[in-house]
């Protein structure tokens, strides 16, 4: 149960990071003095949640993924590991540093009411959401790969 819990924390923190990046995107579209404080908090929360997702996912991948990998590679969806896991584990680093950069762009790149500054933050948030959704999709395919391997077909 502890192992499954770690995986759920990885996915859960990742989803929260994506959702809060969407919330930040909308807030930045409507930026004003009133919501600037919330935008700053959201940028920090996105960075923290993505980093936590990296830590839990990374630990699970290094310590517990081996048996799952063997099951996937023995099944008909071997490409779920050979392609999607390989791409996911390396593309995640891009999302990680985008998440680390987001609070810098929000806190230091003032004022966000200036169009170019606002667009920079919007672009970073959009990239996080896009790559995050790819990560979630790839995770689903990898999970299905384990199911296919266990079904033996």
């Amino acid at each position: 149960m502890l192992i499954q819990g770690q995986m759920m924390l990885h996915v859960g923190f990742g989803v929260l990071g994506i959702l809060l990046a969407v919330a930040l995107f909308v807030d930045v579209l409507n930026v004003s003095e009133k919501n600037m404080g919330r935008i700053k908090k959201l940028s920090l929360a996105v960075a923290v949640f993505i980093f936590l997702s990296y830590l839990f996912g990374g630990y699970w991948y290094v310590v517990h993924y081996g048996p799952d990998r063997a099951i996937i590679k023995a099944g008909q969806w071997a490409w779920a590991h050979n392609y999607f896991m390989e791409v996911k584990e390396h593309l995640f680093f891009l999302m990680l540093i985008l998440g680390m950069y987001l609070p810098i762009a929000v806190y230091r790149n003032a004022p966000l009411t200036e169009k170019n500054n606002r667009n920079l933050v919007l672009g970073i948030a959009a990239l996080i959401v896009l790559i995050g959704l790819l990560m979630e999709g790839a995770g689903g395919i990898i999970g299905k790969g384990v199911t296919m391997g266990l079904m033996g077909r």
Binding site: Y54, G58, Y61, V62, A78, W79, N82, Y83, E86, V87, E89, H90, L91, F93, L94, L96, I97, L98, M100, Y101, I104, A105, R108, N109, A110, E114, N116, N117, N119, L120, G123, I124, L127, I131
Partner: protein, 107 residues
């Protein structure tokens, strides 16, 4: 296009994001095509992926402070930086996704 000065850390860490995302793809290709690199990365922190992640984070932070001290913000604006970040993300993503494409055919 207006050329508004950027704050030094926004510019420096933005450029670091561009360079590090490209280096992430380079490190991937290097370790997957060179056994010596892969073995060194495995030996460094016990798993090649752990070492890869630590390298990416360290590069982003160190390059960020180096670039921040180079007054890039006086030459760039946010629009130019965003363009570089998007292109770096596309190139890095295409290299990573493209590198493993043969794995789809072999299984």
């Amino acid at each position: 296009m207006t050329n508004t000065k950027m704050e030094k850390y926004t510019a420096g860490f933005g450029l670091s994001l561009v360079v590090t995302s490209l280096l992430n793809a380079v490190i991937l290709v290097l370790k997957e095509t060179n056994d010596a690199v892969m073995d060194t990365m495995k030996a460094a922190l016990g798993h090649h992926w752990t070492t890869h992640g630590a390298l990416v984070i360290a590069l982003f932070v160190v390059l960020g402070f180096i670039f921040s001290s180079m007054k890039i913000g006086e030459k760039w604006d946010s629009q130019k930086l965003l363009k570089y970040i998007i292109w770096a993300a596309i190139i890095s993503g295409v290299v990573i996704a493209g590198f493993f494409l043969p794995n789809l055919k072999s299984t």
